[in-house]
């Protein structure tokens, strides 16, 4: 039997397995499908899946919870963080979810949440969409079993971001739940081009640190503005034994990061609370460092520079544009028409406001000051560090560079093949 035959048989087995699962579980799916609800009800009855969510609105935490039905969120990477992220959004009743991944479910993934051993061998996006649509049939789910870092799939990715929204408009938010630098840079490239807001998330390879980062092209640093920012775990890399493995993982750290990610995505979409720019998590010390990183005026991504100048113009035209709404929002939320507040609530609430005003002032100051040096740009808050150094700007000696040549690509290709 040839290798090709084996591959074909493997493919057929996967298809059979998928069909079998769909058939055996179809009756359940039909029952839930009958309960499809188009509008969210606030009625408090046991049969209403949204009653506890709509209570957020009754309590005044969220102004209009039903708005969540209008939004489309793209989750890139449905592994340890992304699958849990997708499940949370599904249970919250998000309008539409678009999932990207090119990996398969493996038994080695079972130390994480969400996937089940019976799904091993299925593509992650297929397995995820089957589970998610059973949890909440109201959510529209679209899947792409593709690797976005390849040139052949990148255009498709751009198109989905531009037209994947509920009414064929652009999507509302992109959540990066990938595990590698290449895919993060790809999402960054796409979102800079389209001016689309996105969250980056990550868990360290030693499984004890994680972070989320909110990126608004032009307003905050993009992923290429500075080297990736990670939480300093204070573990000496030399003592870290990596023999025989690429990465460790814990369901706990991944669950925490997914929770922080979706919490901030919900705050952004539904307009409550304040959204963290960068929030780190060090599991060893339960430390949560945070900071805002300004865009780099020397960013290597041209679309980032374009977004930066557009943002500057917008601030010039409406100087208070980013901040006033926020302050007013907090103040109105705080005022209480009965004048009654629980004693223990009071200090926290006012603290938050003053901290917020403080941070807004800082942002304003930073925007007025041009950044003088790389060192100043790259100064970080405690507990945070860059994963890699910045690109070395010094020009190499001419003799170390490739020489000018009269030959064209085809000549060179032939020359290499003849060696």
């Amino acid at each position: 039997m040839s290798l090709e035959d084996v591959e074909n048989i493997k493919k057929r087995i996967e298809n059979f397995k998928k069909t079998l699962m769909e058939l055996t579980e179809a009756p359940g799916a039909q029952v839930t499908a009958e309960h499809k609800i188009r509008e969210m009800s606030a009625e408090v009855v046991d049969s209403n899946p949204y009653s506890r969510l709509m209570a957020l609105q009754r309590m005044g935490i969220v102004k209009n919870y039903e708005d969540i039905r209008k939004y489309t969120v793209v989750v890139v990477g449905v592994g340890g963080v992304g699958s849990v992220t997708a499940e949370m959004l599904t249970r919250c009743g998000i309008g539409k979810l678009v999932l990207f991944d090119y990996d398969k479910v493996e038994l080695a993934n079972m130390n994480r949440l969400f996937y089940q051993p019976s799904q091993a061998g299925l593509s992650k996006v297929t397995a995820a969409s089957m589970t998610l649509s059973k949890i909440n049939p109201d959510v529209k789910i679209e899947t792409y079993n593709t690797n976005i870092t390849l040139t052949t799939h990148f255009e498709e990715f751009l198109t989905v971001l531009k037209t994947g929204g509920i009414n064929g408009d652009r999507v509302d938010l992109v959540l990066s739940c990938v595990d590698n630098y290449e895919a993060r840079m790809t999402i960054n490239t796409a979102c800079n081009e389209l001016g689309l807001n996105w969250f980056e998330s990550g868990v360290s390879e030693n499984a004890v640190c994680g972070h989320i980062q909110y990126i608004v092209p032009g307003e905050s640093a993009c992923f290429a503005c500075a080297p990736p920012l990670v939480v300093a775990s204070d573990i000496d890399e030399k003592t870290l034994k990596k023999d025989g493995v690429c990465a460790a993982s814990l369901p706990t750290t991944m669950g925490v990061v997914a929770g922080l990610l979706v919490q901030n995505a919900l705050k952004k979409l539904l307009g409550f609370g304040t959204v963290s720019w960068y929030l780190g998590y060090n599991a060893l010390t339960d430390f949560f460092p945070s900071m805002m990183i300004k865009p780099n005026p020397n960013c290597s991504d041209n679309f980032c520079l374009k977004q930066q100048s557009e943002f500057k113009n917008m601030v010039k035209e409406e100087p208070e544009f980013t901040n006033v709404d926020l302050i007013e929002d907090i103040v109105t939320h705080e005022s209480n028409e009965w004048g009654i507040t629980l004693a223990e609530d009071q200090p926290t609430a006012s603290n938050n406001t003053s901290e917020l005003v403080e941070s807004i002032k800082t942002v304003n100051v930073n925007q007025n000051n041009s950044i003088k040096s790389d060192e100043e740009y790259l100064s970080l808050n405690d507990g945070l560090e860059f994963a890699y150094p910045s690109a070395d700007q010094t020009a190499p000696n001419e003799e170390n560079l490739v020489k000018e040549t009269e030959l064209n690509v085809d000549d060179l290709r032939e020359q290499l093949s003849l060696l």
């Binding site: 990996d103 390849l150 890699y388 070395d392 190499p396 560079l401 490739v402 690509v409 060179l412 290709r413």
Partner: protein, 165 residues
């Protein structure tokens, strides 16, 4: 490690910062990649350390070829393949040896080799000067040197008699 450093310093550096989506500048970058690879293979031959061959599709976005390791006078050969990512050269290509997929934990899905902690920082520091040759010299070369002897010893990789030899 000393050998890696020496090999690395004699590979020509590249000038053009362009990825495959950059229609205007990519052909120039591709030329430089070929020039750099030609020089690298010539260096290897001169140092009696010839260890790979590589070619690409017409667009220069897909690369494939062979690499080999000698152990006890026996030649162990492996297919190489990788794509040029959309964000190249800011990110390095992810080199894969598909036939070893699933045979070692030092690999990511699809047989992509697991690189050392030194690789990515060094690459980041040298954007856009590093190209495919550097990824081979810094990434694949050291990986083969460490992993293949171990896989042979474990019996995971076996010597294949070649019909055409």
């Amino acid at each position: 490690m000393e050998n890696t450093k020496k090999a690395l310093s004699s590979i020509p550096l590249l000038k053009t910062k362009a990825g495959p989506r950059d229609v205007d500048l990519w052909p120039q970058r591709l030329k430089e990649e070929y020039q750099s690879l030609i020089q690298y293979v010539q260096n290897n031959k001169a140092a009696d350390n010839d260890w790979f061959r590589l070619e690409s599709n017409k667009e220069g976005t897909k690369w494939f070829g062979k690499c080999w390791v000698f152990q006890n006078q026996l030649k162990y050969e492996f297919d190489i393949e990788f794509d040029i990512p959309v964000t190249f050269p800011a990110t390095a290509p992810e080199i894969a040896l598909p036939e070893l997929d699933g045979k070692t934990a030092k690999m990511y899905r699809g047989g992509k080799i697991c690189l050392s902690d030194h690789f990515k920082p060094l690459w980041a520091r040298n954007v856009p000067k590093f190209g495919i040759s550097h990824a081979l010299a810094l990434g694949l070369g050291p990986w083969l040197a460490v992993e293949i002897p171990e896989l042979i010893q474990k019996g995971v990789v076996k010597y294949k008699e070649k019909e055409d030899n």
